[in-house]
């Protein structure tokens, strides 16, 4: 006895459920528009607090602050895409600046070269630790920062004793301007770095591998990507980016000490995060990070003019980091 009821499958499985179009959704396709909006709002607010800020000079100041953050954050972006992070990048920057400044008497080119070498070395070591020995990036880079600080506090009065004055070339590049004092030379450096990183991420196999590793290490391995090679290269690159930022700051300040860049570590992470790079890897763009850095630059000016105590400053800073990244994930998921 078979009592059967059969309904023909009316609509095929491939049609998709209807959805109400929403603003969030339209923004979601271009989440960076939101960051641009935030940036504009911050600029306006700052302008209201300090009218003179809305001038070439005023805006340039924010840019000047954003530049080193943007370059450090480039390193963070590359590594976050692989699911990593570099907590030693600020110390690497400091160390490079210290070496360059100290070696300046031996010739500008040489000094800069060894400065960059410091970043290359420290970065590669990070890469080996993470890529070959599978040390958690957080720990590896944290330890690297401690090691570098220890070494250089020792060396500051021994092998690197003496001058801490940055050479004039870096002073100009780091602090000087051109085009009637309107455009900082450092901005040109940042432009170069930005173009390189954007190209790397969008137009090269290396970039593809970064995204792949961060998105799914197993799949990457099975399709023949050798993680350790990519990671060593990425961390080394991040180290060099750190050195560049360090040299710029050193040049801007004119003299270096071992606290030179330290306080830019968390901002560099924040910039990447605000820019929508996922700390778990696989998702993110440098263009977003650039906006993140600019936002932090304007924020710095805003806080200066507010003359707010550090208490207020830090609360504001933290809230903005959380707020923006929250909004970003919202938009991303709305898509």
């Amino acid at each position: 006895m078979t009592e059967t009821r059969t309904t023909p499958p009316s609509d095929s499985i491939t049609d998709v459920a209807p959805e109400a179009p929403s603003i969030a959704k339209r923004l979601a396709s271009r989440p960076q528009l939101v960051l641009v909006a935030v940036l504009v709002v911050l600029i306006v607010v700052t302008g209201i607090i300090e009218p003179n800020y809305l001038s070439v000079a005023g805006l340039r100041n924010s840019l000047v602050w954003a530049i080193p953050i943007g370059i450090l954050a480039a390193g963070q972006t590359l590594l976050m895409l692989t699911g990593g992070i570099d907590l030693s990048i600020a110390m690497i920057a400091t160390a490079s600046a210290y070496v360059t400044a100290n070696q300046s008497p031996k010739g500008t080119a040489f000094a800069i070269a060894v400065g960059l070498l410091v970043g290359l070395l420290a970065g590669s070591l990070n890469g080996l630790g993470v890529g070959v020995f599978r040390v958690n990036p957080l720990i590896m880079t944290l330890a690297m920062a401690a090691i570098l600080l220890g070494l250089f506090t020792g060396w500051a009065t021994t092998i690197f004793a003496g001058s801490t004055r940055m050479n004039d070339f870096m002073r100009t590049v780091g602090g000087g301007n051109f085009f009637g004092g309107r455009v900082p030379w450092a901005a040109v450096v940042w432009l170069g770095v930005a173009l390189l990183v954007l190209y790397l991420l969008r137009r090269t196999g290396f970039g593809r591998n970064l995204y792949a590793l961060g998105d799914n290490p197993i799949a990457s391995r099975l399709s023949g990507i050798r993680a350790w090679q990519v990671l060593v290269a990425a961390y080394a690159l991040s180290g060099v980016l750190g050195s560049i930022a360090g040299l710029l700051i050193g040049g801007r300040i004119g003299s270096v000490d071992l606290q030179l860049v330290g306080f830019l570590l968390l901002p560099s992470v924040a910039a990447a995060v605000i820019g929508g790079t996922s700390i778990f890897g696989g998702i993110g763009t440098y263009s977003g990070t650039i906006l993140g850095a600019l936002i932090l630059g304007v924020l710095q000016s805003l806080l200066t003019f507010l003359g707010a105590g550090q208490g207020v400053q830090q609360v504001l800073y933290g809230s903005i980091v959380i707020g923006l990244s929250w909004m970003y994930t919202r938009l991303a998921s709305a898509q």
């Binding site: 006895m1 078979t2 009592e3 059967t4 009821r5 059969t6 309904t7 023909p8 499958p9 609509d11 095929s12 499985i13 491939t14 049609d15 998709v16 459920a17 959805e19 137009r203 090269t204 196999g205 290396f206 593809r208 591998n209 995204y211 792949a212 998105d215 799914n216 197993i218 799949a219 990457s220 391995r221 099975l222 399709s223 023949g224 990507i225 050798r226 090679q229 290269a233 696989g282 998702i283």
Partner: protein
């Protein structure tokens, strides 16, 4: 169908979308006391989704549920349990890093609650101090079951529990189900093994494309009727048949591309040797956990053999990582899509991955990338409406991407591990045709399949593994299901 007032469970018009994916359109189903109710359907039909709705894991977008006539809507699985519904889900529900005992605590049970059932399942005094991750899959499924039974549910839902079990273990489960029936309680049973369904179930509801399209009482029903109902008239024809002329036998004198010699690996692979000839599709089958996973791991360069050699085109292969195997032309399609895909990246990036695994290719993108990727998409006709993120593709399309990846470059041997798992009948046919094409094009294929009846449809020759060794070999054309099954259980095959 009759939903008498004393129905244990009455579901009406259950619908569920995952974002744009329509998993369930509208499902009605009622389970009577003392009934073993089969829920059947092709992959992706919505069975698990339906079970998850009933169990309170997810919430229906529409439709109502009644338990013994009272409307219910659970927020958490444990609420369903309290209401008398216990479920063994398709995906394992034990916490890997907790001991089995702690896993019981988590679900609010003590060891003595499950004791009697463990006995029934031949797991009496099994060591519950073990971490769940160290327990074999089959055992975990049985413990899942014992845990469900300990809740003493009125309705027991089993989603593909037998898939991972040996026949003996499956029989233990059937005994329990029969007992449940004797106690005038009910079971909702999901399985793709129609044989066991017919032997143990009373009633079957069949899902297709998220709808319940048929409801049988199962006495005197033929498998073919079920299949027809599952596939729908439209697709029934598409089912590949032995005479579809896919297979082509390869002359013995053609050159050997891949040669395995006495491979040993961690006691899982014991002295395996075989040849794979150019243009050949070599089938491999076995029960769960006979070392086939390890064998493929060795061939794909993911592991290195303890002893023995892998020879590719006459040269020995020593692989430090899959990269080396790929360079030698051995490319691997894993069973688990999660292991093969970049869920957040585009179809294009997923397909193009192997193009950039060499440092010399790091510094730019291949100019012909678009062309190669396009060709692969065409060849597999991948549905690219959701191409911006592979995780939005349908399961089958995701599966196609895992294969398509290797079509963007040349290779010698395609290693496929159960490439048709979780795939509908149409996609299966497409994939089998593709494999034949590949072979015809001069490459070779080694394919592991757990679906015995499909072996003859695509293979030239078939090997059977048991306990880490190859116990049987024969031409696929003549490999009947029961020959393979006998061999797979390590039994002597009476020469046919």
């Amino acid at each position: 169908m009759s939903d008498t007032p004393n129905s244990v469970l009455t579901a009406k018009g259950i619908a569920k979308n995952y974002g744009p994916v329509v998993a369930l359109r509208s499902v009605d189903l009622s389970v009577e006391p003392g009934e073993i109710h089969a829920l059947l359907g092709a992959n992706g039909a919505g069975k698990s989704t339906f079970v998850k709705v009933l169990a309170g894991v997810i919430h229906q977008d529409a439709g109502t549920n009644h338990i013994n006539g009272d409307p219910v809507s659970f927020k958490m699985p444990n609420e369903a349990a309290e209401a008398g519904i216990a479920t063994v889900f398709q995906d394992p529900a034990l916490i890997p890093d907790l001991s089995l005992d702690q896993n019981l605590t988590i679900s609010g049970l003590q060891h003595r609650d499950v004791e009697p059932w463990l006995e029934r399942l031949k797991l009496a005094n099994y060591d519950f101090g073990l971490l769940a991750r160290d327990v074999p899959l089959a055992t975990r499924r049985l413990i899942d079951l014992a845990r469900a039974l300990a809740l003493d549910p009125q309705l027991l839902m089993l989603d593909e529990i037998t898939a991972a079990l040996t026949p003996e273990q499956a029989d233990l489960v059937f005994d329990v189900m029969r007992e449940w029936k004797r106690m005038n309680r009910s079971v909702l049973f999901i399985s793709h093994r129609l044989g066991e369904v017919l032997s143990i179930c009373d009633v079957a509801t069949i899902l297709r494309n998220g709808r319940d399209v048929a409801n049988f009482s199962l006495d005197g029903v033929e498998e073919s009727e079920l299949v027809a109902a599952m596939l729908g008239e439209a697709l029934a024809g598409a089912a590949p048949a032995a005479d579809s002329g896919l297979t082509s036998s390869v002359a013995d004198d053609t050159d050997v591309v891949l040669k395995a010699i006495d491979l040993d690996f961690r006691g899982k692979v014991n002295g395996i040797s075989f040849d794979l000839r150019r243009g050949e599709v070599l089938g491999l089958t076995a029960l769960e956990g006979q070392g086939q996973d390890e064998l493929f791991a060795l061939l794909s360069g993911d592991h290195r053999p303890n002893t023995g050699e892998i020879i590719v085109n006459g040269e020995p292969m020593v692989a430090r990582s899959p990269y080396d195997a790929i360079r030698k032309g051995l490319v691997f399609v894993p069973a688990d899509r999660q292991e093969a895909l970049l869920p957040q990246r585009s179809v294009r990036e997923n397909l193009a991955m192997p193009l950039y695994n060499r440092i010399e290719r790091w510094f730019n993108l291949r100019r012909d990338e678009g062309k190669r990727v396009g060709a692969a998409i065409e060849r597999l006709d991948i549905d690219t409406r959701a191409a911006s993120q592979v995780q939005r593709l349908s399961g089958g399309n995701r599966q196609k991407v895992t294969i398509g990846r290797w079509l963007v470059e040349d290779f010698e041997v395609l290693l496929c591990f159960d490439p048709t798992r979780g795939i509908d009948i149409q996609t299966k046919t497409q994939i089998y045709e593709l494999l034949r094409e590949v072979a015809a094009g001069g490459a070779s294929v080694l394919i592991y399949s757990s679906e015995l009846r499909e072996i003859p449809l695509v293979c030239d020759r078939v090997l059977v593994m048991y306990d880490g060794a190859i116990v049987h070999e024969q031409p696929a054309a003549t490999a009947t299901e029961e020959i393979l099954l006998t061999a797979a259980h390590g039994l002597e095959v009476v020469s046919s």
